[in-house]
Symmetry: C2
Subunit: 204 residues, 2 copies
């Protein structure tokens, strides 16, 4: 369902993902999307009904995948490294950065960052209602790793970690990939550095 370039629906989704990451939702016209996907302009409304629906579909396709990967890795961390902060952080941080390793996935993580920036109430509600349990699972497990940290402190810091991750994922910062590191290695560097940084910040 994901990789095939042969049916109209996926072609539209991939083109939309790329263009939304580049120019935002409002900044991307359906004509651009169908142009890049090389399908007819009317196909969007046939397959998705409306632009807003297309946005949601683009979003959901990857977000479901990412959330599942995070929860699976969290479960493994809980079993194999109980109480170990770094393992929990890795489960939170590594899946999105792994997703960013191919071009199409990288487009999505940018969209994710954009979704936060857009104050779009619809998307926010969608995220917190559909994926809120993921964040709750993590904050529970983190509380377990840091029994002495007051809850409100923990929430603040989890927010900071999410911010640093979002920023790093979307490649906002000034850090440029050095020539001797591949794209993949660079993202692994990012994960390693961020886990270390976040662990220290959380333990503060």
């Amino acid at each position: 369902m994901t990789g095939t370039q042969f049916n109209t629906k996926d072609r539209i989704l991939n083109a939309a993902e790329t263009l939304f990451a580049l120019n935002g939702f409002a900044g991307t016209s359906l004509r651009e999307v169908t142009g890049m996907a090389d399908v007819n302009i009317a196909a969007v409304n046939y397959h998705f009904g409306s632009k807003e629906n297309l946005v949601n579909e683009v979003f959901r396709r990857r977000m479901d995948e990412m959330s599942a990967a995070r929860l699976a890795q969290l479960e493994r961390a809980r079993r194999e490294h109980p109480g170990e902060l770094e393992a929990v952080l890795a489960a939170f941080i590594e899946p999105p950065l792994a997703m960013a390793q191919d071009r199409q996935g990288a487009a999505f993580v940018r969209i994710l960052a954009r979704a936060y920036a857009e104050q779009n109430a619809g998307l926010r509600d969608f995220i917190s209602s559909r994926y809120g349990h993921v964040l709750r699972g993590f904050s529970q497990e983190l509380a377990h790793c840091l029994p002495k940290l007051p809850k409100d402190e923990l929430y603040w810091r989890l927010d900071f970690v999410a911010g640093a991750l979002t920023y790093a994922m979307a490649d906002f910062g000034l850090i440029r990939r050095p020539n001797h590191r591949s794209e993949k290695e660079h993202l692994q560097d990012a994960a390693r550095h961020l886990i270390e940084f976040a662990a220290a910040g959380l333990r503060a």
Copy 2:
């Protein structure tokens, strides 16, 4: 020049700031802007020439102010608390959060977050060419506070701090202001928690 609601130009700038923060650049029409500012639709082109120019003006007005405040506070930190990490971080973190304390300033810090999310090459170049020296000043002083930390580690971590700050400023996270704290106190809480978190992360 800032507070007066009496001339067309500032009315337009304030309305644009509010609406851009709410709906993004592409998502805001000049008709909405002039509607909110209660001026004629033609006034935008008379005073700013084009929509793109208006975006830049909205941006520059506050960014100059913020950068100046950061550098002034950095200078004070260097003089009064030499080598103290927390003081340097406060100079980086407090000015934007202080700016967010009135409604108009809060709109701007959201725009700032949006400017990162928009991959808009023009804005990115504008930021790094016009305000790059600010970040360089901070990274220099931070290197001074953390003489044992390798430079490339420092850059990674500074990026993470910037991400956490951006996220916190734009109020993306899940942290909601408790009823017993005023808006101002809440932002001061944010600054305090973030400085503590960032200091620990940088020292990791």
